[in-house]
């Protein structure tokens, strides 16, 4: 019993990662001793100020970057290159602009299931995934013919179609307007209920983190950024954003994150005189 629990506990083990980047003026330590163990089916949010290395953590799990020290174990196997079992939803959708939604998903399906699926099965699987994100009506449209939210949906469908063991999302809804974002969050919860994926999501949005996650990992400011606190979110599923607004537990969690970000990790930056208020706003997480 203990062993199963243990292996479940260590489904994805991000073990004591350091990350140093070489710069002309010596090496820059972006991450120091980042250590998280993630269970299968868990939804983790990474939150922190800009430049704290959230994306670096995600890129190391994806295998795009290599940690200087420590490492990532997925099902007890070391991660050292990118692969479809750790699908990534990129911040700016990164769909191939010359392919339709269908073809973008097809590229992934053809590669991942080239030996295990027949042509007809692949077609069904592609259409199933596009339906899952409610994009079946625009399957044969190219990225420049659909809206930003729709592009992000196709990006999610492409990632889901790889049937990944871990889904990595780098601010997937960051570039969307508030209404579309809320809509996408609901969609994601719906998909998550059905598939129960293991997800790591980077976000700037405190509400988004509380609404979607099982645990919120809050990172300290860089350099030498590391995990400051981990917050368990024990709100029952399915979650409803309207009902939660009145929920005291939700509000407690929300203010805990806000406190971490604006009291404990208050970004003390020497703001150059040329920096405008708007630019400064961009650097701080979205509270609204």
């Amino acid at each position: 019993m203990t062993t199963t629990h243990n292996s479940e506990e260590h489904f994805l083990n991000i073990s004591r990662i350091d990350m140093e980047f070489p710069t002309p003026s010596g090496s820059f330590t972006a991450l120091k001793d980042v250590d998280i163990q993630i269970k299968q089916g868990e939804f983790i949010s990474l939150i922190g100020h800009s430049g704290c290395g959230k994306s670096t953590v995600l890129n190391i799990v994806a295998g795009i970057h290599q940690a200087t020290k420590g490492g990532v174990l997925l099902k007890n196997k070391e991660v050292n290159e990118p692969g479809p079992e750790r699908a990534v939803v990129f911040q700016n959708h990164s769909l191939l602009p010359w392919l339709t939604s269908y073809q973008n998903v097809e590229l992934a399906v053809d590669q991942v299931f080239r030996k295990t699926m027949t042509k007809a099965e692949k077609k069904d699987w592609i259409e199933h995934n596009l339906k899952l994100v409610h994009m079946d009506h625009a399957m044969h449209k190219r990225p420049d013919e659909i809206s930003g939210g729709m592009k992000q949906r196709v990006g999610i469908a492409r990632a889901l179609a790889m049937q990944p063991e871990v889904l990595l999302m780098d601010e997937p809804f960051g570039a969307l307007d508030a209404l579309t974002r809320a809509h996408m969050q609901d969609s994601l919860m719906e998909i998550q209920k059905e598939l129960n994926n293991t997800v790591i999501m980077i976000t700037h949005d405190v509400d988004e983190a509380v609404l979607l996650s099982d645990r919120i990992v809050m990172m300290t400011n860089g350099p030498e950024a590391t995990i400051g606190e981990i917050l368990e979110v024990n709100l029952p599923h399915p979650r409803n954003r309207l009902a939660l607004a009145e929920n005291p537990e939700y509000n407690r969690l929300r203010s805990a994150v806000l406190k971490f970000l604006y009291e404990k990790q208050r970004k003390v930056e020497v703001i150059p005189t040329t920096t405008t208020a708007e630019e400064d706003q961009e650097k701080t997480p979205n509270v609204a």
Partner: protein, 332 residues
Amino acid sequence: MSLTTATINRLTVNEKIMKTLKGVLNTVSNALLLPAVGIAIFLALWSITAQSIHTSLGEFPGPNAVVKQFSTLYDEHIAERKKAEAFYERQEKRNAKKLEKNPDAVVKIRAYTGKETFVDQIFTSLVTVTSGFLVAAIIAIPLGIWMGLSAKLNSAMNPIVQIFKPVSPLAWLPLVTMVVSALYVSDDPLVSKSFLTSLITVSLCSLWPMVINTSIGVSSIDSDLLNVSKVLRLPTLTHIKKIVLPASVPMIFTGMRLSFGVAWMVLIAAEMLAQNPGLGKFVWDEFQNGSSNSLARIMAAVIVIGFIGFLLDRIMLMLQRKVSWDKSSATV
């Protein structure tokens, strides 16, 4: 009250019609009228200036003389074709007679060896430039892709590309001529030496814009798209076919258009010196001929050369629009 609304409505409708009319007029004047005015002014200046230039071959030809030479060139072409037809007809008759006398006789059809007409020369030039361009493309595009993928190869190749890019075809030509003469020895040559020399010279000069543009196109692919390929673990060939090639098609085509322009310019010079029977040779022969019509005939060739160059560019642009996903890159 309703009357005034109606009047206002009518007014706005009238305004709308006026606006559309103005728009149409604007388009017409931009697309037709202004170019026509430009050409008219050019022709007027040309004929005035031409009259005051006296050369050893007579007055510099004005537009009228050139137009006259166009029709002469066409007549010569028709006459030459008739001659050729008659030549073959005569042979056939003679052979038929021979066979009548002796059914076992060996008969031959000899090829007509009359001189190429202006139209033949245009055709030869087009074949030569296209062949030279295709040879260059077959080398340049794979090389450019490879250079774009590998920063090391790019650094290694860059000085060579930069040094050879500005070299004039006239500098290459003697070398190419000698090399072709030395290496292309055959009793029954598939193509003439002059054709091969011109082709290689065209290739050597039109290679570089394609190499440079392709390698830039490939090396500047969005890193997110490359990450997609990495996450999918696409094998190298699939990666090139599915990601690299389509992503860099707009830049490759820009390079191809530039190269085709260079190829056409280089061709005329190459044909002149290599004596490949194309437009370049036509110009050279007329210059050597030195008749009172020569300048007008050369001027006619100049106009044809310009016009064909323009058409070739348009064809490349059409191709680019057809093939490229990024329509905004395919602009004039």
